[in-house]
């Protein structure tokens, strides 16, 4: 595997600095502790998300493609994408431009610039894998004490890569190992790849309640103490929705790792959760003291 060095450029997406601050902040911490130099793609813009591809295919391609052009102009070789949905949109636009002459010409007509296809889009888990377990292990100064976690991949991460451009399947063992070196224990459960309702949580909350209840029910049944997620919309839905099941803290994978690395700034982002994870974390700390 090639060595990862120098600065890493990333595409944050619209929620990372806002409703997904927990992920944004913990990711910054993790990168700092790993000694990585990270900076966002300059002047990035929204990928268009579901509203664009649901209603207007041209908007979907052009909005996502603007970012590919920016990355090309800024000499970015690997663009790390933080959000599974943004990732799929950027990947889709890339595929369209590179495989359809018509789309490529349309892009050139609109922006008067050509996309040559030299930017590698990479989901942030790919970069983590490249950094490697050994390196991550070195910074785990404050590991958990057998915290039982239900890894929730959600939909877009876990579909075949011929559809979305990224399939979590080959990374699952790595992610489980990652969680283990953080001192947590991934439980086996059947609902790690089922949809949370995505934007239906806003437009048809009852539907999302039903889906989240089912997910949470099975996580609780597997004796998980929290759910670990990779996507900001999953995170929000799993905290906000679901009526029939008891609440369960929902942490981002980056939070889990940054906490296990003993990040001194964790309180800043932990306070933003709608389901307070602090009682659970205190319980883990007292285990640490008694152990």
């Amino acid at each position: 595997m090639e060595k990862l060095d120098g600065a890493i450029r990333y595409y944050p997406g619209c929620s990372l600095g806002s409703s997904a601050r927990e992920m944004g902040d913990s990711f910054q911490e993790l990168a700092r502790m790993l000694g990585l130099e990270i900076s966002p793609l300059e002047d990035w813009s929204c990928c268009g998300s579901s509203p664009a591809h649901s209603t207007n295919p041209n908007l979907a391609t052009l909005l996502a493609a603007r970012n590919l052009l920016l990355a090309q102009e800024q000499g970015v070789k690997d663009l790390m994408v933080m959000c599974p949905s943004c990732f799929v949109r950027l990947k889709q636009a890339e595929r369209e431009i590179l495989t359809s002459m018509e789309k490529a010409q349309e892009l050139e007509r609109v922006f008067h610039r050509k996309y040559r296809g030299g930017v590698r889009l990479r989901f942030f888990l790919e970069i983590l894998e490249q950094i490697g377990l050994e390196r991550v292990k070195e910074i785990m100064r404050n590991p958990f004490h057998g915290l039982k976690v239900a890894l929730y991949y959600g939909c877009l991460l876990s579909r075949p890569d011929w559809i979305t451009g990224f399939d979590v399947a080959p990374y699952e063992r790595f992610i489980e190992d990652l969680v283990r070196i953080a001192g947590a224990d991934p439980v086996r459960w059947p609902y790690s790849k089922h949809c949370c309702g995505a934007s239906l949580a806003v437009t048809k909350p009852g539907t999302s309640d039903r889906l989240v209840d089912r997910i949470r029910h099975y996580a609780l049944e597997a004796k998980a103490q929290c759910i670990v997620v990779f996507c900001s919309l999953c995170q929000m839905n799993l905290e906000l929705r679901g009526k029939a099941s008891s609440p369960l803290p929902v942490l981002y994978i980056t939070e889990l790792l940054a906490l296990a690395a003993g990040s001194p700034n964790a309180r800043k982002w932990l306070s933003k959760h709608l389901i307070d994870p602090l009682p659970l974390l205190r319980e883990q700390m007292s285990l640490a003291r008694s152990g």
Binding site: S18, F111, R159, G197, A198, T203, L240, K272
Partner: protein, 178 residues
């Protein structure tokens, strides 16, 4: 029941996909997480397209309820790309001025894209406020909304991209029908 034979061709052409590979095994319908909220399940939508049922398909709830989780196409033995079909059908429903039964979903998409059009990025607080006002759902999730504000979970001030001229060009050239 009117059969509109041009419908199937139009859908095929626009989506770049053939849907006659479907042999109605119902895997898509069985795996769909939101099928309970649909008037026709995904298999039925594929069949109705094949049977040229333009009005029934374009006025259906199903095409809007689909969130594109891709469970269906992942399980399809013939790789019929249902989410792509749903995208195409939604776009056609809007273009053809069909009365959409899931008004809030369309409103959400429009409000979202309006944010992108103005700033090039989503300003979540503005998106939530505008959607809630326009959909008359101000009191739904009021407590959660207040918690969001209290915890400063939303970024308070909107930010815009520098290259707004790019965004304007995208809307002008991308035919802005959304």
């Amino acid at each position: 029941m009117r059969v509109d034979s041009s419908f199937k061709e139009e859908v095929r052409k626009r989506s770049g996909q053939r849907f006659d590979a479907c042999f109605q095994c119902l895997s898509c319908a069985g795996g769909c997480p939101v099928v309970e909220d649909m008037d026709y399940n995904p298999t039925q939508i594929v069949r109705l397209v094949e049977f040229g049922q333009r009005e029934r398909v374009l006025a259906s709830k199903a095409i809007w309820v689909c969130v594109g989780c891709h469970a269906c196409v992942s399980q399809c033995p013939n790789r019929v790309n249902v989410p792509l079909l749903m995208d195409t059908l939604r776009q056609m429903a809007l273009e053809q001025g069909v009365e959409v039964p899931e008004k809030r979903i369309v409103l959400f998409h429009r409000t979202f894209l309006d944010q992108v059009r103005r700033r090039g990025r989503i300003y979540e607080l503005g998106l939530a406020a505008r959607y809630k006002l326009a959909s008359w759902t101000l009191f739904q999730d009021l407590i959660a909304g207040l918690k969001f504000l209290w915890k400063r979970k939303f970024k308070f001030l909107p930010e815009a991209v520098k290259g707004l001229s790019d965004i304007r060009t995208i809307w002008r050239e991308g035919d802005g029908k959304a």
